[in-house]
């Protein structure tokens, strides 16, 4: 048994499902702003649409973050660089998949385009076939006609193969590919709430659960109009969560929610020799890959939120094994298989992994307030706090001649004034609990020659208590209602590409209650989200 995770069906008596009144009167659905594919979704889509192409692509400008997430519809303003990159990438893909006549034949689905009639038929077939995959729905007659006419005009200027290349480039830059427009019915008035168009629903599901385009089965379900009823949507979502592509959503969400990307920041390219002389060029990437394999293997395999916080399961490569003092089982980011268990006395869950511990440290030492604040803001959704303008933000160092002191002692002295304690009681209370891990994430029992004191205090939650060490802390938080509520709130934001509006608060509360009662079953939460009114219904603009 790889993962000790209770299947969703074993969850005891769940609270009632979120409100699902007959669609129409009384149901609350927030706005549905136009969404652009995020950079990750765009690259995943290209990967899935053109398997086998491994192209060197220019970097897209970063997606703007709102509340830590890169998919907020409100922050997707285009820029000249983005448009230039889209064109460059479209041209690279179009060229790569049309190198010669056999490749074009395979792409187009025609054997010959020698006569005007044959080329017209092939052009039409190519536009319909490729257009449907890229636009995630059959083309309208007008679209079909426009792209076919363009293709035939370009054929006259160059040749058929070249015209296919140019048409593919145009399709890849079209708004129907790069954005996710959702049609409102012809007779809907602004504010009307109706089921999402089935093809748009296929895209909602796939760009959420797979972070990519729908597959044939989803498009076929849309064609049969079987993506409106809750049972139909749930059936597709269940199938999708069993597919490997769902690994992406667990990583994409958690890397942003928990700030696991921080390990990639330039500051973490190095550690001082005193911290870790072995920290080398590949350590950042190894740490990122190890956290990714933990999240994907654990959660796509049915793991719970508590598992994320307490599991000792790991897929370390050689570099992470060096820091963990474990054997190595992985050689790249796609590590799967059974993995291994890390030391029961040293490790439990994501807060004891290098990506988090080092990502929330500095080169030369740990910062308990930084780590504590990360847990507070990210896991508890606590509002941010700021140091006063005259705060001393430098790393505290011991006075020469004062004798050895631990990092904790130095931070305690620095933040002892009453003016600091209002915030630091909470920050330090959590952060000191991780002092058994140095700035490289290695376990330590001594700091500067003195025993580590990893006792702490949880404040402001439903599980407030004193604790000792990260394992004790993680176990307490794994049972917390506040943590489950925070996770739910963030998942809803992530799924909808916007913050829940006030009127959706009861929905978020209901989702959160079921999530907690399910034992933190993440796949169950995602099923509840995609079948909730805010996801499967649309309020007309």
């Amino acid at each position: 048994m790889v993962l000790a995770c209770a299947p969703p069906s074993s969850a005891p008596k769940l609270p009632p499902a979120p409100p699902a009144p007959p669609d129409g009167a009384g149901v609350v659905v927030g706005p549905a702003p136009l969404r652009r594919l995020t950079n990750h979704q765009y690259l995943n889509a290209l990967h899935d649409l053109f398997p086998g192409q491994a192209l060197a692509l220019p970097d897209l400008p970063d997606d703007a973050l709102v509340a830590g997430f890169d998919n907020a519809a409100e922050a997707q303003q285009p820029s000249d660089v983005r448009i230039a990159r889209y064109e460059a990438i479209a041209n690279l893909y179009a060229e790569a998949v049309t190198p010669d006549a056999p490749a074009v034949r395979a792409l187009v689905g025609c054997d010959s385009w020698d006569t005007p009639d044959a080329s017209a038929a092939c052009a039409s077939a190519f536009v319909a076939r490729t257009g449907t995959r890229l636009f995630r729905r059959p083309l309208t007659d007008a679209e079909q006609q426009r792209f076919t006419q363009r293709l035939l005009a370009w054929k006259d200027a160059i040749d058929f193969e070249g015209a296919v290349r140019l048409t593919l480039s145009a399709l890849l830059q079209a708004p129907q590919f790069l954005y996710r427009p959702e049609p409102d019915g012809a007779s809907t008035a602004p504010g009307d709430i109706t089921p999402v168009d089935p093809y748009a629903m296929a895209s909602r599901l796939s760009f959420f659960l797979w972070q990519s385009v729908p597959d044939d089965a989803l498009l076929a379900a849309a064609a049969r109009d079987q993506l409106r009823a809750v049972a139909d949507i749930a059936g597709q979502a269940r199938r999708m969560l069993a597919d490997d592509r769902s690994r992406r959503v667990f990583w994409d969400f958690h890397r942003q929610w928990l700030g696991l990307d921080r390990i990639d920041d330039a500051e973490h390219a190095a550690r001082t020799p005193e911290v870790d002389a072995g920290w080398g060029e590949g350590t950042q990437a190894s740490a990122g890959a190890e956290s990714r394999s933990l999240i994907e293997n654990l959660l796509a395999g049915g793991g719970t939120l508590a598992d994320l916080l307490t599991s000792r399961r790991a897929w370390p490569d050689g570099e992470m094994a060096r820091i963990y003092g474990s054997p190595a089982v992985a050689d790249d980011a796609a590590a799967t298989g059974p993995g291994l268990e890390l030391s029961a006395s040293e490790r439990a869950g994501i807060f004891t992994r290098v990506a988090f511990l080092a990502g929330y440290s500095h080169r030369g030492g740990t910062s308990p307030p930084l780590r504590g604040n990360a847990i507070r803001m990210r896991l508890l959704c606590a509002p941010p706090v700021s140091p006063p303008p005259d705060a001393d933000l430098s790393t505290p160092v011991a006075d020469p001649g004062a004798g050895p002191q631990t990092n904790r002692m130095l931070f305690e002295a620095r933040t002892r004034p009453a003016a600091c304690q209002g915030c630091h009681a909470q920050l330090n209370g959590l952060g000191f609990g991780l002092e058994n891990y140095d700035a490289a994430g290695a376990f330590r029992t001594h700091d500067n020659g003195l025993p580590v004191d990893a006792s702490g205090q949880i404040h402001g939650t439903d599980v407030d208590r004193a604790f000792t060490g990260a394992i004790d802390l993680s176990q307490a938080l794994g049972r917390s209602r506040v943590v489950h509520a925070c996770a739910t709130q963030q998942w809803v934001r992530y799924a909808l590409g916007r913050a829940a509006v006030d009127a959706e608060a009861p929905l978020v509360q209901a989702l959160s209650a079921r999530f907690l009662a399910s034992g933190g079953d993440l796949r169950g939460l995602l099923m509840d989200i995609v079948t909730a009114p805010s996801f499967r219904l649309r309020r007309a603009d």
Binding site: L34, R36, P58, D59, P61, D62, D63, A64, L65, V66, A67, G68, D70, A75, Q76, Q77, P78, S79, D80, V81, R82, I83, A84, E87, A88, N91, A142, R146, F147, R150, W154, A157, I158, D159, R165, L166, S169, A170, Q173, A174, P175, Q176, L178, Y179, P181, D265, T272, R363, M377, P383, P384, S386, P387, P388, P389, D392, L393, S394, T395, D541
Partner: protein, 483 residues
């Protein structure tokens, strides 16, 4: 409110404005107006050690309460301050300005202290420096720019088919990392920054490459390339047809996208710039490469607005040990009796921050040399450009008053260069118990807008309140700088 570029130009009656605008200022160079005015923002992280930047000009009054204006022409290199010395060869085209204040940052800090929010001096400065407005506070994240920054405002007004509105280069400050890149398209929307000179060059080529002129060989590949505008036309048409089916907000997103596709399309159809050398030299460090790219972009009129966010170098790059860090080791300890973050003053730290200032000045001098090497009319590209050297903070110790500012190039004769100016510090400071301050940097921005032939009399916030309740005007250009 968001106005796209075309709407704005129409409103301002500037649709056809480029190089032909009549001169507003007597005494400008003879060929001013025959060449467009360009602007480069050279944005330096941290700030200066004032004693090493300020000029020890004989006869300059000691007291800071009096406006002073001294010519630079007669000064030898040795008379220049250490930090400004690398710019001595360009002294006739310099305006060194002492005593401006980041009044917006001061007002913002005063307000955040009252209301709560991200008070980190770096993020507040980064958010406000080029926007001229208070930072946008965001739950759980560093604060960020709350409005379109000056460079992007100028970009929106000076872009044209075949020309980028602006270019934003820098190899260190990265969007979505802890610190944003000073430049914003709109609230919370950091302008994409290009950190790799090779990618930046490719972008320029994307706009500059002729779409198959008469001299192109008639190969299949050339004919395919020549179809790029046609493909973009097909793409733009899709945006135009889809947008009316959507709500107003969604439509605006697609309209903006379509306008940018049309810009790219137009640029490809523009005639090749035969006089312009599009070669790129990839030798030297990234900053050096970017200085050459800025020359290329301006000389070829591929943009008229460039912002360069200078890096915080690794210490060995300016002669200090690898284990040291500019921010953690030196910055806060560099000014006697004005240290920050609890650090004790260290002469080594002061020397390091001075040497870092000289490092930046050398790169800036390099940029000026590049621009001066491009003949334009009876002068050079530098004569038709205004290079604006500004700093994130006034000092490495998080002060926001007594800022050190340099304008270089004169901007087509708009600025009266060759002078060292000291503004008196007579205005109330928004922070209690802090010294009086000089004019707001926002007023410099009004001057820059006018140098770029824009009618604005202000940019960003137009007023702030001192700690004593006095009103501080942030509006109106600094006419002392103008010719």
């Amino acid at each position: 409110m968001k106005i796209n570029r075309r709407q704005l130009l129409k409103v301002l009656g500037l649709g056809g404005l480029s190089s032909g605008l009549a001169l507003r200022h007597p005494g400008a160079r003879a060929d001013a107006g025959a060449f467009p005015t360009r602007i480069v923002f050279f944005v330096q992280p941290h700030g200066h050690v004032p004693g090493a930047w300020n000029m020890p000009i004989p006869g300059l009054p000691e007291a800071a309460g009096q406006f002073a204006d001294r010519p630079l022409a007669g000064l030898a290199a040795g008379d220049f301050s250490e930090v400004l010395r690398p710019l001595h060869p360009f002294r006739d085209r310099l305006l060194a300005i002492e005593g401006l204040a980041h009044t917006v940052a001061l007002a913002d800090i005063a307000e955040i202290t009252r209301t709560g929010g991200d008070l980190n001096n770096h993020s507040v400065s980064v958010a406000g420096l080029l926007t001229g407005t208070r930072a946008l506070q965001r739950p759980g994240l560093p604060c960020t720019g709350a409005s379109r920054s000056l460079d992007q405002e100028l970009a929106a007004r000076t872009a044209a088919p075949g020309r980028f509105g602006s270019r934003l280069y820098g190899s260190d400050y990265v969007p979505n990392s802890t610190v944003a890149p000073f430049s914003f398209l709109g609230p919370g929307q950091a302008t994409p920054i290009v950190g790799d000179p090779a990618a930046a060059f490719a972008d320029l080529l994307g706009y500059a490459a002729p779409a198959g002129g008469a001299q192109s060989p008639d190969t299949r590949a050339a004919r395919l390339r020549a179809m790029r505008p046609s493909v973009l036309d097909a793409v733009a048409q899709e945006y135009a047809l889809l947008a009316p089916q959507l709500s107003a907000a969604s439509r605006m997103k697609l309209d903006d996208h379509r306008a940018l596709v049309r810009d790219l399309e137009s640029s490809l159809a523009a005639p090749p710039r035969a006089q312009c050398d599009l070669a790129f030299d990839s030798t030297g460090d990234r900053t050096t490469q970017f200085m050459r790219l800025i020359r290329l972009a301006l000389a070829c009129d591929l943009t008229r607005v460039v912002t360069f966010v200078a890096p915080v170098p690794q210490c060995p790059e300016f002669g200090y040990p690898a284990e040291a860090s500019v921010h953690a080791t030196y910055a806060h300890a560099s000014i006697l009796s004005k240290t920050s973050c609890g650090q004790a003053y260290s002469p080594v730290a002061e020397r390091a921050m001075i040497d870092l200032g000289i490092w930046y000045a050398n790169h800036l001098a390099n940029l000026l040399r590049e621009l001066d090497a491009v003949p334009e009319g009876s002068g050079t590209l530098l004569d038709h450009t205004v290079v604006v050297w500004i700093t994130e903070l006034a000092t490495p110790t998080h002060q926001h008053h007594d800022v050190c500012t340099v304008l270089a190039g004169g901007g087509n004769g708009f600025f009266a260069t060759g002078r060292y100016l000291r503004y008196p510090r007579l205005l109330s400071n928004p922070l209690p118990a802090f010294p009086a301050i000089g004019p707001a940097q926002n007023r410099l921005y009004a001057s820059l807008l006018q140098a770029m032939q824009q009618p604005d009399a202000s940019f960003g916030l137009t007023a702030a309140t001192g700690a004593d309740g006095a009103s501080i005007s942030l509006a109106g250009p600094l006419t002392e700088l103008h010719r």
